[in-house]
């Protein structure tokens, strides 16, 4: 059962990922990303990580990709792009190199670990002990061991929001304000 779900979801996730890269229309690419995120959410469910699955949908599909779509629609970049011209020289070669490097690292990691060799599988997560374990365990760890990291992330997000607001608002200098008043 788990294997069947995994195979179906893996196909969805990979198809979505390919769609993100290959779709010519940015909106279609964003929608493929949503497909990938849903597949991932079901994979989390498959691992009995209910909370992560729900948060995956709420945060990534519900907020972040919606924001992507917003930007695409508001900026009017929802046309087919001309891909024959490279926007930054050497960008594609570099991207291919970095991609291959990452892929190589991942393969090397799997080959060097015990999992690939059929050895024992190391469990990195905590055991599920009680009924509402998911949420409770995450909360326990988040608000004890990692509370500084958690707070720092929160502060970082707040700062970035404030920064975005400041950058999007053009504050007039004093002399400009007086000029407009004279014009009136």
């Amino acid at each position: 059962m788990e294997t069947a779900v995994f195979i179906v979801c893996a196909v969805i996730v990979l198809a979505g990922a390919l769609g993100v890269v290959l779709a010519r229309n940015p909106v279609h690419a964003a929608l493929s990303l949503v497909g990938t995120l849903f597949g991932m959410a079901v994979l989390f469910l498959n691992l009995e990580a209910h909370f992560l699955a729900a948060v995956q949908i709420i945060v990534y599909a519900g907020a972040i990709v919606v924001l992507f779509l917003f930007v695409i629609m508001l900026l009017g970049v929802d046309r087919l792009e001309d891909l024959s011209v490279e926007p930054i020289t050497g960008q594609r070669t570099l991207a291919a190199l970095v991609g291959l490097g990452t892929f190589g690292l991942a393969v090397a990691f799997i080959l060097s670990s015990d999992i690939g060799a059929g050895g024992h599988i190391q469990v990195l997560t905590l055991d599920i002990t009680d009924q509402y374990s998911n949420l409770r365990q995450i909360a326990d760890v988040l608000f004890t061991d990692y509370v500084y990291a958690f707070e720092a992330t929160a502060a970082l997000l707040t700062i970035s929001v404030v920064g975005a607001v400041v950058m999007s608002r053009r504050m007039a200098r004093k002399d400009e304000v007086q000029e407009t008043q004279v014009d009136d």
């Binding site: 059962m1 788990e2 229309n25 909106v27 279609h28 929608l31 949503v34 469910l45 498959n46 009995e48 209910h50 909370f51 699955a53 729900a54 948060v55 949908i57 709420i58 599909a61 519900g62 907020a63 919606v66 779509l69 917003f70 629609m73 508001l74 929802d78 599920i128 002990t129 009680d130 009924q131 509402y132 374990s133 998911n134 949420l135 999007s168 608002r169 053009r170 504050m171 007039a172 400009e176 304000v177 407009t180």
Partner: protein, 405 residues
């Protein structure tokens, strides 16, 4: 997958405890089928109810020809829509245009799956016996039940957004940008007011939330009314119902995000809209009014729960129609001000007050003092917020072009 090992993928329903066989699969299918059919019929009746009620409030008669009291009017309208020509605009993105109505409809259905519609909560934990199997009267009881509601309401944004964009026309696009901004903003207030309920119930499972409220321990007064008011306002905005129906402000936007839709695709949006009204009312009942809780006034155990749920549901459905008949539409900036500058800070502050009350109880401090201190902190923060808003307004008046370029 053994159900004995904590929560299974299927949730906490006692139906699956002894393993899953044919009987369990059939009962689940039956529940899904019944929920589906009941929702469809409920939507039909809801549309009729709304039209009839609003005509009464406006001194009109309303639909009165199809069937007794015009009760089959919706059915007639549905059949008419079904047989109309299905138009797809030339400039549209065909694939997304066809996909969007379903993205609206499916979440509306799915939310209802976690609502416990009945069961005995007077001493029991809501179990009923169905063909000799113990189960809850809800399609599913996932351990993250209430998060599913939030997730589905955030997925519903896609339906609106993509419908407007894919139409390839100006007004639907404007409407959909407006609508999705509204829905995303109010989702925050919705989630934060929910946090108060979760704090008191200590669980995300809807069945557990209802169980914690059993015998008059309703969250409405356990959380001191404010979260429910915030939730109701945010839910109305999330549903795009009046007075927050800027999405289909006819004077400004022709018809709203579904201007270019016709025939059955339009019907799907219409269906989703009314279905969302019903499911959201059901969620409010579940979260704040104890779901099927209430004194047993029948001799049959399971019937009273269903009846109580129905009575409470009707209360909110009536209130939604009443609001529509009474209130004028909000202006867009008023809507955003209400959401971001009032509802979100207030729900956060209220969470602080409730949490301090609980912590004071645990530590043996004076609870009243804790609450008063928290209220004082809230008042101070509200004062700061008001000052900041005033400074921003003054700056704007000095330099009207200084905003978004």
């Amino acid at each position: 997958m053994t159900a004995a090992l904590g929560p299974s993928v299927f949730g906490l329903d006692p139906l699956y405890i002894g393993g899953v066989g044919w009987a369990e699969v059939l009962i689940t299918l039956l529940k899904v089928g019944v929920a589906f059919a009941v929702l469809l019929v409920a939507v039909m009746l809801m549309i009729w109810f709304e039209r009839k009620l609003i005509s009464d409030m406006q001194n009109r008669i309303g639909p009165n020809l199809a069937g007794p009291f015009g009760i089959f009017q919706t059915l007639a309208d549905g059949i008419k829509l079904f047989f109309k020509e299905d138009l797809i605009p030339e400039q549209s993105d065909r694939l997304v245009f066809k996909l969007a109505p379903y993205l609206s409809l499916v979440p509306a259905f799915l939310v209802f799956a976690v609502v416990p519609v009945g069961g005995d909560f007077n001493g029991g934990d809501g179990r009923v016996s169905l063909f000799g199997h113990e189960t809850f009267l809800q399609v599913s009881d996932p351990p993250v039940g209430i998060l599913l509601v939030l997730a589905m309401s955030s997925v519903a944004v896609y339906g609106v957004m993509l419908a407007g964009w894919s139409s390839g026309s100006k007004y639907p696009l404007l409407a959909s940008v407006r609508a999705s901004a509204q829905m995303v903003s109010y989702e925050a207030a919705l989630g934060l007011s929910l946090a108060a309920v979760l704090l008191k119930s200590g669980s995300l499972s809807t069945n557990q939330i209802v169980f914690e409220q059993s015998v008059w321990n309703w969250n409405l007064w356990v959380t001191w009314v404010v979260p429910m008011v915030i939730f109701l306002i945010a839910a109305t905005a999330e549903l795009n119902r009046p007075p927050f129906d800027l999405v289909e402000a006819e004077q400004e936007l022709v018809g709203g995000f579904h201007t270019e839709y016709s025939s059955i695709r339009f019907a799907l949006f219409y269906l989703a809209e009314f279905m969302n009204t019903i499911t959201m009312s059901a969620i409010v009942v579940t979260l704040f009014l104890g779901g099927p809780n209430g004194p047993d006034f029948t001799t049959v155990g399971w019937l009273s729960g269903l009846l109580w749920f129905f009575i409470k549901l009707m209360l909110f459905l009536f209130a939604f129609v009443w609001l529509r008949a009474t209130l004028p539409r909000f202006r867009y900036d008023q809507l955003m001000d209400l959401g971001w500058k009032l509802l979100i800070p207030l729900s956060l502050g209220w969470l602080l007050v409730l949490a301090s009350y609980d912590v004071a109880g645990d530590r043996g401090w004076n609870r009243a003092a804790a609450v008063i201190v928290m209220l004082a902190i809230m008042a101070a923060l509200a004062g700061l917020l008001a000052l900041a808003l005033r400074a921003a307004r003054q700056r704007r008046e000095l330099d009207p072009q200084g905003g978004f370029a």
